[in-house]
Symmetry: C2
Subunit: 480 residues, 2 copies
Amino acid sequence: MLTPLALPATAFIDPQGNNRAAIAEVVAHVAQCIVTHLSGAAQHPPVPEVTAVPAIAIPDLPTPDRDLLNTLDAYLATAMNPANPGYLGHMDPMPTTFSILGDWVVSALNNNMLSVEMSPIFSRLEPLVMGEIARLFGLGDRAGGVLVSGGSLANLQAIAVARNAKLDTLTHGLAPLPRSPVIFASAVAHTSIKKAAMLLGLGTAGVIEIPTQANSQMNADALRAAIATSLANGQQPFAVVATAGTTVTGSIDPLPEIAAIAQEFDLWFHVDAAYGGALMFSDTHRDRLRGIEQADSVTFNPQKWLYVTKTCASVLFRDMAVLHDHFRIAAPYMNREADWHNLGEFTVQGTRHPDILKLWLSLQHLGKQGCAHLIDASFDLTETFVAAVRQRPYLTLASEPAMNLVCFRGCPSWLPAAQWDGWNADLQATLCRQGSFFLSLPHYRQHNWLKAVLLNPFTTIAHIEALFQAIDAFAHATKP
Amino acid sequence: MLTPLALPATAFIDPQGNNRAAIAEVVAHVAQCIVTHLSGAAQHPPVPEVTAVPAIAIPDLPTPDRDLLNTLDAYLATAMNPANPGYLGHMDPMPTTFSILGDWVVSALNNNMLSVEMSPIFSRLEPLVMGEIARLFGLGDRAGGVLVSGGSLANLQAIAVARNAKLDTLTHGLAPLPRSPVIFASAVAHTSIKKAAMLLGLGTAGVIEIPTQANSQMNADALRAAIATSLANGQQPFAVVATAGTTVTGSIDPLPEIAAIAQEFDLWFHVDAAYGGALMFSDTHRDRLRGIEQADSVTFNPQKWLYVTKTCASVLFRDMAVLHDHFRIAAPYMNREADWHNLGEFTVQGTRHPDILKLWLSLQHLGKQGCAHLIDASFDLTETFVAAVRQRPYLTLASEPAMNLVCFRGCPSWLPAAQWDGWNADLQATLCRQGSFFLSLPHYRQHNWLKAVLLNPFTTIAHIEALFQAIDAFAHATKP
């Protein structure tokens, strides 16, 4: 053991138990800070202001435990607070209790999803649970999936596999291709599709944007026309990305039509259901995703509408053999287990935090029925919210909500239209400053909009009424 | 609030405090499980056997808290156990206490590094701390860095920026390039370099492997020759990757020579110091990384030799402006803050777990001197280990250790050389089965080797003596 003087007594948890009492004390302190803060989250604003940032200099000498513990309240108070029932701005939920606890266990164990011997139980658990989820999506008996650290990586991995499978680029890259490879996605697809195209060597221009209908859904006729034009221009189309739950309006592209077009042109069919995939857990609303069972790959993020603490994102494949044939790069320094894979060879990451325990504990704690209840209840709340928008002539919806996300804006007739963007920005900032409600302010169709995601299970009809009273008060004050 | 019957009472932490007592109870239970397990980690084997995997089926109904809590011990007992002082197999440390606690806070808050408004304090903290670290690496006043979820992503992002900056591929991709882009790395560079090349559209063949010297370091003359050959073959070299801490032997490439060659040929100079970067914290050993201050980018993973729980990996850039000019893809749905960046636009990820708090708490708790002490102490232990190998004629070193990593193998003269690979594999498995020591078994230079990483601060000279007694006993039993 190291010289005691050089390190704080609690630097590590002594595996022989010699500092157990001191460790138990700091652990209890931190646990209590967290429980106190989150049990009072309704009293903290949804998005606090940060007025001062601590001075940053790595100290030479160790900092006493007590001094560090005393800084925790400042971090808690200046963090985003999605547990406040007035937090409505993003697809970022308050997390389930058992997902938090699962992550605590994993942080303490410091296992590594790189290989089976670095995470003996978690490397076995992940393929089993992901197989169950892939089957729930109707992807069949050869389907499965992997967890990755965020939805951008899920989309990246799906399109990488699509490119390698369709264009044979794993070994020799894009240089030998006679034509420029391109993919298709709607104009409102997530920016991670463009980022993936940039990383994968297609360039951002390698994503051909398909116009949307009035409801922010991809126009299937326009997709067919764009593929024909691309082929005529001598490009090499290889994949179509549909979205189930767009970022700004929560819209779902027409999956069956897109699946048919992808099949007709022999294109990989990827569905970015990062947000909407949770609908598969609801008997009432599952049908909104009809067509997803025809996908070659699906991005699905339990970190969103399944309330698992971040990150917990996944990419599912209809046939897991594609990862062996068109993605895997072997790591010769790792031991092999006969029946289990070293998952570092099968994802865009190598070393990876085990996100499977928090997902698995949370799914078991809620059960499918608990998940369905959360989803169904947020649809009910959305109806109330939409009705409140429709009742106000000075508010307008961006599209018909397809899930628990409402995008709307003020178009106050008493002001010139050129002032409406500023009006909406002022409204959003005013609500934020008042400290009870947080709507986000997306830029969409060349304008500012307001976005509400009805995710928080503690948000009630009374909260929505109070929000619209605040909106009415703001509007009234802007009248001449 | 939702119908109480449909969800467990502890499904979420009620932000009005209505289930505080029940939450405090499950939190205390989990905290105690973890402290008990880790305080007794020396009594659990370094890498436990997993003999049974639980049946996996997502239940329809919620699972009672007590039933789930009762499963935790099984997960703890079948996880990799790097806290055991006999765990020597990989670059995976036991984590510092305050990195665990920082991760607990972050898991509970569920903030998102995608944007400033989703992580108001953490999005400010990260650039400040990473700027400090970049300056510690001598990268200058325009330097900084971002955290990403694992070293493979750090290498991916560095080479993506290099490709875009040198070949202007952000918008139009690789198709317009007249020549095949290639990069150079030593034959023993990490597999994530090949994975990055595959993802980035170079193909795995786009990594030109440079032979190593006897000490597993890149041969600088061979690098110069390979660049010349590549140019003569009509390829387009754009980057050189040097390694500071190779996976199998912990070797450090000759950084100053490689820097000079990169400059001569106008190539991006990336240093993969995922493991070795921690040496910058030691006054005694910093000089081993001389030349790293000339890098255009550096991968550095505090999750390794700085003992921060996973994941905590970073990529540093000499000039952060390259991320603006050659990487950033704007997300129009996010608010902007005047002085702070939405980091989702600047990393390969979008949504990202805030890893900065655990890093910042841990650095403060240990101080630079504490970090230096850990590094220096592991060098001392390595000397003892190397001496024990040298004392045994039937053992041989793969290379002269440059840090706290020893790669060696048995070449028992009493057996035919064709049996040595099997002998080493048997030895590794025997030690594992005995439950006191874990060495890993990398495949290297067409043979099986044994690898020890002297990371665990609770490993003592007595442990090393016991390990070599066990090795001697195994060897003796194989004599005729």
